[in-house]
Structure formats: C-alpha cells, structure tokens
Amino acid sequence: MTSTQLLTDPPGTAAGGGDPLARLAALPLRSRSRILSRWVPAVVVGALVAAIGWAFVSAPAMNWPVVAQYLFSPRILAGVATTLLFTVLTFALGLLLGIVLEVMRQSGNPVLRVIVDGYIWLFRGTPLLVQLVFWFNLALIFPVIGVRIPALGLTIGGSTNELVTPFLAALIGLVLHTAAYMAEVVRGGFLAVPPGQTDAAKAIGMTSLEAQRLIVIPQAVRVILPPLGNQFIDILKATAIVSVIGGGDLMTIAQQIYGQNYQVIAMLVVASLWYLALVTLATIGQHFLERGLDRSRRRVLKAEAAR
C-alpha cells in the first residue's frame, strides 16, 4: 500500500472530509493475530517437554514406591538435618570470617591486606572438592595436632584422625572456601556506599566508628542482602559435595542407602525432592527478608510510581 492509497477515503467514511490523517486516527485498533507467534510454539514445546518428562517419570528405574518409602525415613531425615546444620554453620561462620577478612583488608595495614588477598587467591583458586579432600587427609601432614606447654609438661591435643572427623573436615573446608566469597560480597556492599556518606556523618560530629555503625553499615546491608540470599542457596546445594568424604549429609545418606539396595535413581530422586523443597523454602525466606529490610526503598518506589 502506498502512502497515497493510505490517505484515500476508506469506503463508508466518505462523509468525513477534512483531514484524512485525523480520520485514520479515529479508526479502531485491532491487535495482530498471535496464533503463529504464541500458540504454535507453546503447543510444540509443551508437548515435547511433557513427552520427555513422562519418559522419565514412567521409567521402571524410578521406582516410585521406593521413593515414597524413603522420603520421610529416619535416616534420610537425619541427613536433611545434617545438611541444614552444614548450611547454617557454613553460612554464619563463613560470613563472620568474610567480614573479618574484609575489615583486615580495609584496615590500611599493607601486611594484613596482602595476607587477605593471598587467602582469597588461594581459596577461590582451588576447587572446593580438592579442598575438602585435603582437610580430610590432614593427618598425612600432621599426624598429631595439639598445644604443648613445656613449662607445665602439659600437652593438649591428640591424633588428627580422631580430632578431625569427616563432619569437621567438611565444615572446615566449606567455611574457609565460603569466607573467600563472603569477603567479596561484603566488599561490594561497602563499595556501594559513597564516601560522601562518611564525610557527612563525620561533619555532624560522629566518630569513624559511629559513622560506620549508624550510616555506612545499614546502607551496605541493603546492598549485601540479595547476594547473601544467593550465597545461602549456593551453600545449601554445595553441601552435597561433602558426601565424597562421608560428611553425613543428605547426599551421603542417599549414597549409603543405594549402596545397599541398588535403588540409585529412586534415592537420587529422594535427595532431589528434599533439595528442591529446601531451596524453595530458602527462596521464599529470602524474598520476605529482603522485603522487610528494604521497606523504605519500596515505599520510595511506590511513591515515585504514584507521581
């Protein structure tokens, strides 16, 4: 259609006269058909996914009765509890150590700074799996660990293999590894608060410590919170790796069970269902936590939207 055709009177509107563009503007608007762009792909992809899904669900190896039998069995529940314990301890201790690392780095002391940079380089530069196996085999380096106080003729300590249980080796590995990432997350939060905030706080007579506590940290926490939530979920899933040293978590238990009854797939489904449930719960918790701590920003956004 050429522009001249566009501007000729459509049939039935001959009485209009005047400005042809104004008459076009008055025509009702109808959206284009979406059959090709929306419905065809939906049906094709949907059918494909359903077929693949059914192939898995209906496979004999799935053995759903076994899944149902083990899903809430005491051993699996104990594994779930251990996984949660690993997650919470790793998150809390990793965050604590991460904050300490970041404070050391910000202290302005060049030696501390180099130590922190070295730590992060080492623990981010090696796979978690390698670190875990390393701590598990600590006894090969130090067969005995402890403190000897010669003045009292006293030795506190003992065999490394007895002291560093698989649980402890797994926890040490997870915490040291996580702390390196936590330090980066904390750092990002503090970098996001402009230096002018500290200037302004000092200008009204706050000490450096008060400026940090009352002005910088509350704003940094808002920035850190979403990545912290993601860290928690990452840790929750990463704990499964401790099964390689028999850490006693959900995955360890699932492996032990299928080692005995050979229901490999069914037990992996049991573990997956639990991980999915825990991650979903954590995601919901993260959502509410962010909303609670971020209420002020949401109010601002709402007010701006209302303008």
Partner: protein, 280 residues
C-alpha cells in the same frame, strides 16, 4: 587565646596529594558572624581548604583553630600530636558542613537525617530532637516533606535538608562547599535564599562558591584563591571593584562574574554561570 563563639583561624595550612601541593600555606581569619566567600578557578584548592578546616582531610602543615581551640591536633610539650578520633569529632561538632553533592543519608527520612546528629552525638531525647528537626525543616520551607526519603526530593530540597541537618548540631560556623554547583539552574535560588537568611541571622559562614552575585551581595570578605595560595582578600567592593589585583580581574572576567564590565573585553564569550540567579 579567647574569642567570641564562631571564630576561625588558619595559619600556614599545607596539603599535598601524590606529591602535588594543593595548599601552599594558607593564612585566614574569620571573625564571629563574618561571611567569607572563597572564589577562584577549579583546582585552586578552595574545596580542599574547606575539608582541611574540619579535618575531613588531615593537614600536612599548619594549624586550624576553632574559637581558639586546635582541631585535629593537640599541642604538647613543644610539638603537635595528632588528636584522637573522638577528640577531633568533638571539636568538629562546632563546624557544620554542607556538601556539593548534599550527601544526605539515603536510608533515613528528611526528619531522621536532621535528628540523627543531636540524638546520637549530643545524646538528646529522640522526641525532642525530631520536634526540633521539624522546626528546622519548616524554617527552610520543607515542613511537608519531613517524612520523605532523599530520593523523593529534588536537588534543591535535598540541599535544604542538608542545611537543616548541619544547623541541628547548632554549630558555631557553617562551611559550604559549592552548595549550588550540582543543582539545576532553576533550583539555585531556593538554596541561596536560605543561605542569605542564615547570613543575615549572624551565622559565621565560609562559602566556596561560583555564584559571584551571591558573593558580592552577602559576603563580608571575599577571598580569591588560585594555585593553592590566597591571591587577594578584602570586602566585595574591593575585589569586584577597581582596586583588585590583575589575577583576580582575569579570573572574574573568565568566570563571567561581571557582565557589565566584560562587554569591553574579548573574554566576553566565556561561559556565564548565571550570576543573576542570586541577585533576583
């Protein structure tokens, strides 16, 4: 050494960054109630001087005294020692500061921004401090914006909250670091109006500004700084009049500070920083 509240004295103030000397020995006296405007080209050390006065930057040499009391250092047995953070912040309470970028606390409402100093630093009761904060906000024309967050306010409104925040600490001296430079032209006037009222009320003020109209109208003393030194200082009539030094004259021509004299000059094409905004 004793003086009325609100006096400021600088002697031989020096400051370097990465080997470049920004301040090359500044002497300055500000009497109680005096309004001093610091003018001069960018990079001349005006803002650095202001930050050195309240010790947001440490000095490399010289001293700053507020009402006769050294800030940032203590004199002990024939030498100066760096004061503790707590001691410096105590003296700093006497010096309110207003920043170019406002620097309002983003997680607090306007009234909380104004009240947090009195509550946390002076130990006032929260209810009293917030009542006083609302009064101060009303005095800068923001009574109905007390509950808003900085991101909900315009630049001019934010800067007025920042002035109220500084006033809440009842400082003897107010420092202004280019308070209108980050504002849209139509918002400059509302901030200058508040500052003029403060000047008329007898507050000691040190103002780094590019608003030549404001300097000419409000300042008791205008200080022209260039290259880290005070080139010339005196009443506005001197610096904006015929008695000024050639360097001051050259700067004022460049900055478009005097339209009525610039017409005879080839420097007329230089960018004007809306000097009329203040004079209106």
């Amino acid at each position: 050494m004793s003086a009325a509240r609100g006096s400021l004295a600088l002697r031989g103030v020096r400051k370097s960054y990465h080997g470049t000397e920004i301040l090359r020995g500044i002497d300055l006296d500000v009497a109680p109630g005096e309004v001093v405007c610091l003018i001069g080209p960018s990079g001349g050390g005006k803002s650095t001087l202001l930050r050195c006065i309240n010790q947001l930057e440490s000095l490399d040499g010289g001293v700053v005294a507020v009402d006769g009391e050294l800030i940032g250092y203590t004199a002990h047995g024939g030498h100066l020692t760096e004061a503790s953070d707590r001691e410096t912040s105590r003296v700093r309470r006497n010096l309110g500061m207003v920043f170019q970028q406002f620097n309002l606390f983003g997680h607090l409402t306007a009234v909380q921004n104004v009240a947090i100093g009195p509550v946390k630093v002076l130990g006032r009761r929260k209810a009293d401090a917030e009542r006083r904060a609302r009064e101060l906000l009303a005095s800068v024309g923001l009574a109905e914006h007390a509950g808003k967050y900085p991101s909900q306010l315009s630049g001019g409104q934010q800067q007025r909250v920042a002035i109220a925040r500084a006033l809440a600490m009842e400082p003897a001296i107010l420092l202004f670091d280019e308070p209108t430079s980050a504002l849209d032209p139509e918002l400059v006037g509302e901030v200058l109006t508040v500052m003029k009222a403060l000047a008329a009320g007898g507050t000691t003020m040190v103002v780094v500004t590019h608003e030549m109209g404001f300097a000419r109208e409000v300042a008791d003393t205008v200080v022209f700084m260039e290259g880290g030194v005070v080139v010339e200082q005196g009443p506005p009539a001197q610096l904006f009049g015929a008695l000024r030094s050639p360097r001051t004259a050259a700067f004022l021509r460049r900055s478009g500070g005097e339209a009525h004299e610039a017409e005879a000059d080839e420097a007329h094409g230089g960018e004007a920083r809306e000097p009329e905004a203040a004079a209106s």
